[in-house]
């Protein structure tokens, strides 16, 4: 994946294969950490286990990471962008369907990473981590917020939309609903969630309008007509 940066020196020096191998090891450790952390939690995973899972010696762990916590931080930083949702495009397409698709993909990513099982364990006790996470969330929120703002300015949303609250609501729903699963009694229905979110944002007429006009969209201010057949 990110191999490219690591390999920038290929062919330049005999030491390169060494660096390459080192790089692989680092990657293996990160991956082992990810897997074990999300399986058994951060506190319940020992450095030794991570090393063993990555097929290196205990001591090697500490050549690549100054401590267990750092591995987690790297893990999170490395994958920050994967927490970022794809640019949510409210306007140009059938927002419900688009959102449903985006949600599903995003959730698959989240589940693949599995870090949502670890973060809550540490957030309260690790201010730095909390800060990092808060940053990601803020960016995520900001991006949602910005999209909503544009939509609002074009007159597509409810007039009285509280951008901030809606953005956080969307963020929370998209973050937490996928964490649910059979064991909690709810299997996320992305289409339904998507509809719910759209209803938080758009009056029903707009959704109809968007869907019918597809591209010839005219951004008139919404006026309280109502025929919410959906």
């Amino acid at each position: 994946m990110d191999d490219q940066e690591g390999r920038q020196l290929i062919g330049e020096f005999p030491s390169v294969p060494k660096q390459e191998r080192a790089y692989q090891k680092r990657k293996a450790l990160l991956e082992s950490g990810r897997v074990l952390f999300s399986d058994k939690g951060y506190e319940n995973t020992t450095a030794k286990e991570i090393a063993a899972h990555a097929n290196v010696a205990t001591g090697t762990f500490y050549r690549y990471f100054c401590d267990k916590r750092q591995l987690l931080m790297e893990l999170i930083k490395d994958q920050l962008e994967r927490y970022m949702p794809p640019e949510p495009s409210w306007l140009n397409h059938d927002p419900e369907a688009v959102l449903a698709t985006l949600l599903e993909k995003h959730n698959q990513r989240l589940n693949r990473l599995g870090l949502h099982r670890v973060l809550p364990e540490l957030l309260p006790h690790d201010p730095e981590l909390a800060e990092v996470l808060a940053d990601v969330r803020r960016k995520l929120h900001d991006s949602i917020h910005e999209g909503l703002k544009q939509a609002k300015e074009l007159g597509y949303t409810w007039e009285d939309l509280d951008l901030d609250s809606v953005a956080w609501s969307i963020l929370v729903l998209t973050e937490k609903l996928p964490e649910m699963g059979p064991e909690t009694g709810y299997i996320p229905n992305y289409h339904a969630i998507s509809k719910i979110i759209c209803r938080m944002v758009f009056p029903p007429e707009i959704l109809l309008q968007l869907r019918s006009e597809e591209k010839g969209l005219t951004g008139n201010n919404y006026t309280n007509g109502c025929d919410h057949e959906i």
Copy 2:
């Protein structure tokens, strides 16, 4: 529990104060546990610290609780009902305002307990606790779901409401938004959240109608005639 016998006789007789003091001590330990757990997390809090914080010796801890985990379980069980939201009454009053109030109160309770800082830490690794928590959530969800169902049957909600998804969305929003605070960059605006939730449930006309007619409400579906005294 031993409350009644224990408390009413304070000062009357040596034997009773003994029970009373034991009761107080137990309470002090629970409270110390609650405070320290939500301050520093479960794993980072030692039994010794809890004892010290409650002004008792280490060993005393183990007279009242067989181990650290049990204290947490008691903490949670003792306060389960506080996790339950008050009966959400969608129909009789201005639902937005009522919901806003309920949310605010509920959130204050949650924040006072502070257990939402601890639970995520343990949930993945403690199946029993997870089960207990899942139960509470399911009940909460069911109660929300039931309220929504009644409203839907009366024709007050969007016709195509996916009760399950909406109920879980409401649960998630009411559970997670209050956990946010200045540090995450969002100070919950209960009125805005309330409006968002109502929009997930009711078409705007219904809300207007409810608000204007207050009690002489005619529930057309919207034609559904109705007198939802509940």
Copy 3:
């Protein structure tokens, strides 16, 4: 049993019943200690358990015994004489049968006391206890030794009897064989053991002679006659 000493003051003073009750409590504690020690071992028995088993409060234990060890010492001292074997009378009767009976009774006593389960646990680490026990054993040994000596002087035993070794052998056999039980695969056969011991001491002719002459025993020095059909 030993109630008499305890009751010497009966009727003299109102305080006497108190002393009586105290005495009963002490006895109950000793008995509880005995039972629990021989069931679960000394280290594995807590003062609290002993108190509970004797139906007194933990603290009461320490009114009667300065510590756990003292209870054990009392137990042992109280019952020292029960470790002493009955005067073994080699000469006057059918020694085998007599010995068999004595062994059986002694072993029953030992098993009732059950202390042989406890002593080995402590002996190596408690010089005082070891001394006490060694004393008992020495006395036991001396008494056996003395009996053997008399028999030897009367010419009833093997000529070259090593009194010391034989006495210790008898002591060891009578002490250890009864500790065996079904779980070790040997159910003590007292008659056989008795025969073995007699053979260690007496030439077969003497045994025959003793048995036939019963009381008109003439203690002539044993001269190698032999018909050891037994």
Copy 4:
């Protein structure tokens, strides 16, 4: 075990000494355990002490043994065969002298091990250990029993020998007498003990006969010849 590979290469290569050193450390811990257990008893010896005595850190103890008990078990299992007495050969030689020698050697082994100070402490409370020990004893008993049986069938023993009781008696005497020492007031006299044991088994004539004929032994049924000058 790792003995061979481990030892022969000392100093040759870094990897081997590593195993060697680990092996040495394990041995040191076992030895420290042995010494401390037999000095102060099992319960009174802490893992920390054992580690300290072996000049390693507390944690190192747990690299080699999962807990204190396991060290003891290893100790015992490692040395089981040393509890087994050498094949007791009743027939071919002067049984008394041979037995005396065997006893002495066996006792030296036992005393070197010193485990007889520990075992009684644990036996009552540790069924697994008890089982292991009982096994060893049963084997020991069986081997003695078998030897006796052969001798009996050849007509060398008392006719009415109760094999089981005699075998257990021999086992008990050989096991317990050596545990005695100056502190108990008896310094084992192996020759005397040996004579006692032989008397439990053989009529005096047989002993004489065995001694005189040495190898030209004719296994005729014992007939009361007698000249038990010893």
